[in-house]
């Protein structure tokens, strides 16, 4: 390396750099370059920044081996720690703390302490990173380091949060008390922390929450425990006592989730949408360990776990496991059909796994046990021995559940013993024959004869089972098998394996009555042929529950170093007041707080404070400008390949815009200045071409509304939410005086909203109602099964033109006329409200001032959000606005008890003009905002929707017959809506 040394000693930076590059390349390849250390370390103070960097790389790599020489560089870093530039301070601390030289521990400690109170958050972050480095170098520094950690935990910047929690986890994970005061802050900052920090914080908070909050599934688990108790408690009185206990329990301890617990759940939820799989997993495990349990979350996603032949083995195994766990009576037939294709796979280990999975399904679901068993028996003739053997093992376990019915299978398996060579399978067959020798009295002795012949060549587990078989046969059929048994036992007596010799001796004593053998031999038959409980086929992943989900230890099912046990829930919650912060900065609206710190203003956290004004402002503007902007971006698309076309489209763009502007101005002329917020229904009518797209966008936004209402319902622990639910179950009367009568008449229409078809699986899981017809059930099942094969064009429905209704005639209104329509768009300030588009026209000569909604007289439960007051309406001017009304669903009086679908059928005769497909669909759509559902039949039309306020599903089926006859069927949980809808559709289709 002399040439390198020379280059390093030269004055030219370029030579030094070249030398350092070559050295680093050697380090990368794993070559030892430690002898160059003196030459390299001299350059630590080099002015050239890249040389310096590479020297750092070298230094960190070799300092541990050359401790004395490394000390030469320390003073450079100490100088760097005082540099006015924060980045140089940080970099100096980083390298200094990375040099693993014990002598400098005091220097490091000092540097960390100083850096922890540095002005710059970036330097503080580096300090947090340095803590675990120092700790691994010298564990005696723990106490001092904890002080630094405590200080940094109080830091309010997102930059530091992740790193200091990492240090906390490495140095003092047991000091959970340090978290109390910072808990709420961490929860609130979480979304702005960088992704790696998020993972660490979420995992730590999971553990924290387990020590501080109560089990949200507490009541449930108590109820589950009770059957166990009655199992042990023998007399009736006790169990009665227990029943009373369970009845009392929920009352005695009503569970209320700690607000801090809820805060954690709520603030982590958006992180499920992180691009980083580790963050998503961390949140998932947090919900798994901390959230109230939800059933049936994964069933709808069953198909996502179907296996491809190209999947890696470990993925196949996991997918099989998931599918097996998801198997239930409703989906088992689909799963078994899928398993059937797997069995033919060329990957034989995978086939074996599938067979085990089938076995587990068969034990869990009684209905399919025979089907599975028959299928497995067919596999016994499989050419692949591994497959055959696995089947034998699984069949053996299944047969144990009901042996008497399956003696033919046992007989079949007895024949296999000649062909099957896999020891485990042979042993299984022998055990089966021995256990159920009474069912196959003729074959069993013959099998023993064959086995006696081959005994010496068998594997140990097979030998043990031969001895077992012999013993059992001896006890039941000693006449035929006495000699054989003795022969086998004699062979076993001289076997090489001492287990086998032991077993033979033991069994001989037990079954062959001699003078010496005691009382035990009398019970030999009972011992050997006792009823044995059937084995439970268990998942191979079963016993790892106690590890924190997603941890390395969980994956390997063995505790890795540094794993922190996940504590059990406490029986009573520790004092929640420990989390209160005296100067309660973090309970204030965070927006204000953030503005004080200019530099570190987090990106998201403040959006909470600001979100409301922006939302309400946005709710008006986009609607008007939407159609215009679409053309802009459309023409801009697909044109990036070459510059020329870019130019063209740009000019196109401008043309388009001009056009749009012209059109706009024209319109203005017509309606005499329709104002900025013109009702967009007009635009829709004018531009027929745009109609479809805008209606599509309106329907699309309706889903967003839906899902967000789902969100809110998922958080329905919140009282207000559940209250409204309860209220909505109460009946409200139908009659409706006042000018709103018109609206009331139309309300059932607007209550319906387009429902995305993705909700189909919920049909399956919803409690299957007695009232709904069987055929419907079948239809629904058919839907989910076949939905993938139906062409997709039906997904986006086309809405008919929106009808306008008159609310106030211009004569009655003394010049003011009001029209309204249900624009079938979500009402953005409140998604449970139906949006009603109002249009005010001033037909008088004078200006109208101060238009506003007076005290609305609403029925119980109804809510209304009005439009902004209109200050002035010039003569001839038209103003439009939307108001939202929650009509609060007219409900079925017995809804509380009678859950599920009600079915209403009506026959009708279609007039000539409504017999075409298009006409029918159009008529129905015009009445209610329904989504068309694909259906294989020509004469059948299906529609589905969900009500805005209650989210009740509505299904409409129309079957046409010859001569214009038709049958209309409506299924809906809410009977009143159903009847009203029937009436309206009938009317629409017949008039």
């Amino acid at each position: 390396h002399d040439d390198l040394k020379e280059m390093l000693d030269s004055n030219k930076d370029s030579l030094k750099l070249e030398a350092m590059k070559r050295i680093v390349a050697m380090i990368a390849r794993g070559k030892n370059t430690s002898e160059l250390f003196p030459a390299v370390v001299k350059n630590v103070a080099c002015k050239n920044i890249e040389v310096k960097k590479l020297v750092y790389v070298y230094l960190v790599r070799y300092a541990e081996e050359q401790q004395d020489l490394a000390l030469l560089s320390i003073s450079t870093f100490q100088r760097g720690l005082k540099d006015p530039n924060q980045l140089i301070r940080a970099s100096a601390l980083r390298v200094l703390s990375s040099i693993r030289v014990t002598i400098i521990v005091p220097i490091m400690m000092l540097a960390i302490k100083e850096a922890a109170s540095d002005m710059s958050p970036y330097v503080r972050k580096t300090a947090a990173h340095a803590i675990p480095k120092l700790y691994s170098l010298d564990q005696d520094q723990k106490d001092q380091l904890i002080e630094v950690i405590e200080k940094l935990l109080a830091d309010k910047t997102t930059l530091v949060a992740g790193s200091v929690v990492m240090a906390f986890e490495e140095v003092c994970p047991e000091r959970i008390d340090l978290i109390h005061k910072n808990y709420r802050k961490l929860c609130n900052l979480l979304i702005d922390v960088e992704e790696w920090g998020q993972v660490v914080i979420i995992n730590m908070l999971t553990r924290y929450a387990r020590t501080q909050f109560l089990n949200p599934n507490h009541n449930e688990s108590l109820l589950e425990e009770n059957p166990d108790k009655t199992f042990y408690g023998s007399d009736d009185e006790e169990s009665k006592q227990e029943e009373m206990d369970t009845a009392l329990l929920p009352k005695r301890k009503p569970y209320v989730m700690d607000p801090d617990h809820r805060l954690l759940l709520r603030n982590t939820k958006p992180l499920l949408q992180s691009r980083n799989a580790a963050v998503v997993m961390a949140v998932a495990q947090l919900y798994f360990h901390l959230a109230p349990k939800a059933e049936g979350m994964f069933e709808p996603h069953l198909k996502s776990f179907y296996i491809r032949s190209t999947d890696p083995t470990q993925i196949k195994v996991l997918k099989l496991e998931v599918m097996t766990n998801l198997a239930s009576e409703t989906n088992i037939s689909i799963i078994l059909r899928e398993f059937q294709t797997y069995i033919k796979s060329q990957d034989k280990d995978f086939v074996a796994g599938t067979i085990q999975a089938i076995g587990r399904c068969a034990t869990n679901i009684d209905e399919v046990r025979d089907t599975c068993l028959n299928g497995l028996v067919q596999l016994l003739s499989n050419r692949d021995e591994l497959v055959m053997a696995e089947s034998v093992v699984v069949i053996k376990k299944l047969l144990q559940m009901q042996p008497s019915q399956h003696s033919d299978i046992i007989r079949h398996m007895a024949k296999l013993i000649d062909n099957i060579m896999v020891p485990m399978a042979r042993a299984s067959i022998l055990w089966l024959i021995g256990e159920y020798c009474e069912h196959v009295p003729k074959i069993a002795p013959d099998v023993l004869r064959k086995m006696a012949k081959s005994f010496t060549n068998e594997e140990d587990i097979v030998k043990l089972q031969i001895i077992n078989l012999a013993a059992k046969l001896y006890l039941t059929n000693s006449k035929q098998t006495k000699l054989l048994t003795q022969y086998v036992l004699n062979l076993a007596k001289y076997d090489q394996n001492y287990d086998i010799r032991d077993r033979a001796r033991f069994i001989r004593q037990l079954i062959v009555p001699t003078e010496k053998s005691g009382v035990l031999s009398k019970y030999a038959k009972k011992l050997f042929l006792a009823q044995k409980p059937a084995p439970v086929l268990e998942s191979s992943f079963k016993d790892r529950d106690h590890f924190q989900l997603g941890s390395l230890s969980h994956l390997l099912n063995s505790k890795a170093g540094g794993y922190q046990e996940l504590p059990d829930w406490p029986n009573s919650a520790p004092d929640p007041a420990v989390r209160n912060v005296e100067v309660s900065e973090w309970t204030k609206p965070s927006g204000r707080e953030k503005r004080k710190e200019k530099v570190e203003k987090p990106f998201y956290s403040d959006s909470e404070g600001e979100s409301e004004p922006t939302e309400s402002a946005d709710s008006e503007s986009p609607t008007a400008s939407e159609s215009e902007s679409m053309s802009e971006i459309e023409s801009a698309s697909d044109s990036r390949s070459d510059k020329e076309s870019d130019e063209e489209t740009k000019s196109d763009n401008e043309k388009n815009k001009k056009k749009a502007r012209k059109e706009k101005s024209k319109k203005r002329d017509e309606s005499e200045d329709s104002g900025q917020s013109e009702g967009e229904e007009k635009t829709v009518k004018k531009r027929k071409g745009k109609e479809e797209s805008s209606s599509a966008s309106s329907s699309s936004s309706s889903t967003s509304e839906e899902s967000s209402s789902e969100n809110s319902s998922s958080e329905s622990e919140e009282d207000s939410e559940s209250d409204t639910e309860k209220k909505s179950r109460k009946k409200s009367s139908t009659a409706k005086p006042s000018p709103r009568a018109l609206e009331a008449k139309q309300k059932e229409i607007s209550l319906l909203d387009l429902d995305d078809f993705s909700s189909s699986p919920t049909f399956q899981t919803s409690p299957s109602p007695n009232t709904s017809s069987k055929s419907l059930n079948l239809d629904l099942q058919g839907l989910t099964l076949t939905d993938t094969t139906v062409p997709s064009e039906v997904v986006s429905p086309s809405l008919g033109a929106v009808k306008t209704y008159e609310l106030l005639h211009r004569i009655t209104g003394e010049g003011l006329s009001v029209e309204y329509c249900f624009n079938r768009r979500p009402f953005s300030p409140d998604h449970t409200m139906v949006s009603v588009q109002m249009q005010f026209t001033n037909n008088s000569e004078t200006e109208l001032k101060n238009l506003r909604i007076g005290e609305p007289k609403l029925q119980a439960g109804m809510r209304m959000q009005g439009f902004k007051d209109i200050a002035i309406l010039q003569p001839g001017q038209v103003a439009a606005d939307t108001l939202g009304i929650d009509f609060y669903q007219l409900l079925n009086p017995s809804a509380g008890k009678l859950m599920g679908m009600n079915e209403i059928k009506e026959k009708l005769t279609l007039p000539e003009q409504f017999r075409s497909d298009q006409a029918i669909v159009q008529r129905v759509m015009s009445i209610a905002n329904l989504g068309r559902v694909p259906c294989g039949l020509d004469n059948e039309y299906r529609f589905a929707a969900r009500t805005v306020s209650g989210g009740a599903l509505v299904l409409v089926t129309l079957v046409t017959k010859d001569g214009g006859m038709a049958q209309l069927t409506i299924n809906c949980e809410k009977m009143v809506i159903g009847t009203m809808l029937v009436k309206d559709i009938m009317q629409a289709l017949t008039q």
């Binding site: 794993g30 790599r61 992704e195 580790a278 198909k303 941890s551």
Partner: protein, 418 residues
């Protein structure tokens, strides 16, 4: 957390090692090689391998194994995700992530790795920040560097890490301000023997290339955001706006990045753009088998299916194939038993087909299962889910950027069972 990293090529050479704590001997990789031997294929190497003193967590990408050495408890996905980020960064820096590219740029690689982890804990993984710290090599710069002896290390210190938006560097300037978005959708599907869909799902991403001056604040809205299911965002996207309005609002990183990835779930109907007619048969006792495949377009919304490649892993008993194709070329590898047929564009008027015979090993029974067929294809200017971007707005800056959207549909894991 992460102690060391070893890069291993397909022939089992360790061609790069990097340690963030004390040095771990490369002999630890012997456990990896052992596991590799057990797994017949590279993809089947278990991602986590326990050894007496360490744990090896690896990813396999671009025919390189990235093996991280772990000493104590850490979420495995944390490490896996980080390793993928390393690969992405290399791709970003060097265009590809090959052994050659890494060896050629070993110093840059080393510097990048040094910045990405500190003491085994991720420090700077955003490509915008990394590029400020260490400039990616370009041909021009390499030439200049060799002449002038200047360096790849940024001479001013990075500011991004200290800013409000840690993923965007400050002081960005462009003469032409442009923002391009690619909507790329992949169809994952399983088609059964009879041609009906067992399972189909769309995995989509929106990749962006944003070159805008200053600190632009963009909003992107969709005509039909309800299609998107299970969305995951680049950290720059504001969750709140998405949740309340289904609008993507973000300050973009500079350059290329993945804005969004999403599923269109299996519960929605997925249009299947191609169909395959197949007739593959083996007969017991015969030394010949029939092999016949025809591919045709199905629901393509009027667009052309291109870049079509059909591959199939045939059973071991197949010795050779004698096929004729009406279009494109086919190859059969008698060692791996993979037949691959490169079709290219599908002409709906004249459907491409591949017909012929397979010669089988005599005396062996016919295989239990017919081979599965995997298909790749591309359709330009179409997002098969029907997703459409509505508009893109920019706030915070005065100039008018040029905007563009491109749609593309590809086959993902598209498998036909026969």
């Amino acid at each position: 957390m992460i102690h060391s990293l070893f890069l291993i090529n397909s022939s089992g050479d360790i061609f790069l090692e990097k340690h963030w704590k004390s040095v771990v001997s490369r002999s630890v990789c012997d456990y990896f090689f052992e596991a590799q031997e057990k797994a017949n294929e590279s993809e089947n190497v278990p991602p986590v391998i326990p050894t007496p003193h360490h744990f090896l967590i690896s990813v396999y990408r671009d025919r390189i194994f990235f093996v991280a050495v772990i000493q104590s408890e850490v979420p495995p996905l944390f490490v896996i995700e980080f390793l993928h980020r390393v690969v992405d960064t290399f791709q970003d820096y060097f265009g590809t992530c090959s052994e050659v590219a890494i060896k050629d740029n070993v110093v840059v690689v080393y510097e990048v790795l040094e910045e990405m982890l500190d003491n085994g804990f991720p420090l700077a993984t955003e490509s915008n920040i990394l590029k400020e710290l260490i400039r990616p090599p370009t041909i021009l710069r390499t030439v200049v560097n060799t002449i002038t002896g200047s360096t790849n290390v940024g001479d001013h210190l990075p500011t991004g890490q200290l800013s409000v938006v840690p993923w965007r560097r400050t002081g960005v300037r462009y003469a032409n301000n442009e923002a391009y978005f690619d909507v790329v959708e992949e169809i994952d599907a399983i088609i059964d023997k009879s041609g009906s869909t067992v399972f189909a799902e769309i995995q989509g991403v929106i990749d962006a290339c944003v070159k805008l001056t200053g600190m632009p604040d963009l909003t992107l809205s969709f005509m039909n955001p309800r299609l998107l299911d299970d969305v995951s965002f680049h950290p720059c996207v504001r969750f709140k706006r998405w949740e309340s309005e289904r609008i993507l609002s973000f300050i973009p990183p500079d350059g290329n990045f993945r804005l969004l990835s999403y599923h269109v779930s299996s519960q929605n109907l997925v249009a299947i753009p191609v169909y395959v007619k197949h007739n593959i048969s083996f007969r017991d006792g015969s030394s010949m088998g029939r092999f016949e495949i025809t591919v045709g377009p199905k629901q393509t919304m009027g667009k052309t299916v291109e870049g079509t490649v059909v591959t199939s892993q045939l059973p071991k008993v197949v010795l050779n194939m004698n096929l004729t194709s009406t279009q494109g070329n086919y190859t059969f590898d008698p060692v791996t038993k993979v037949v691959s047929w490169d079709i290219g564009k599908i002409n709906p008027q004249k459907l491409p087909s591949l017909k012929g015979t397979m010669s089988l090993q005599t005396g062996t029974p016919k295989p239990d299962e017919n081979p599965n067929i995997n298909i790749q294809f591309k359709i330009q200017q179409l997002a098969i889910s029907g997703l459409k971007v509505n508009r893109l707005d920019m706030y915070g800056e005065k100039y008018k950027p040029f905007k563009g959207i491109k749609y593309m549909t590809k086959a993902g894991k598209f498998q036909v069972r026969t």
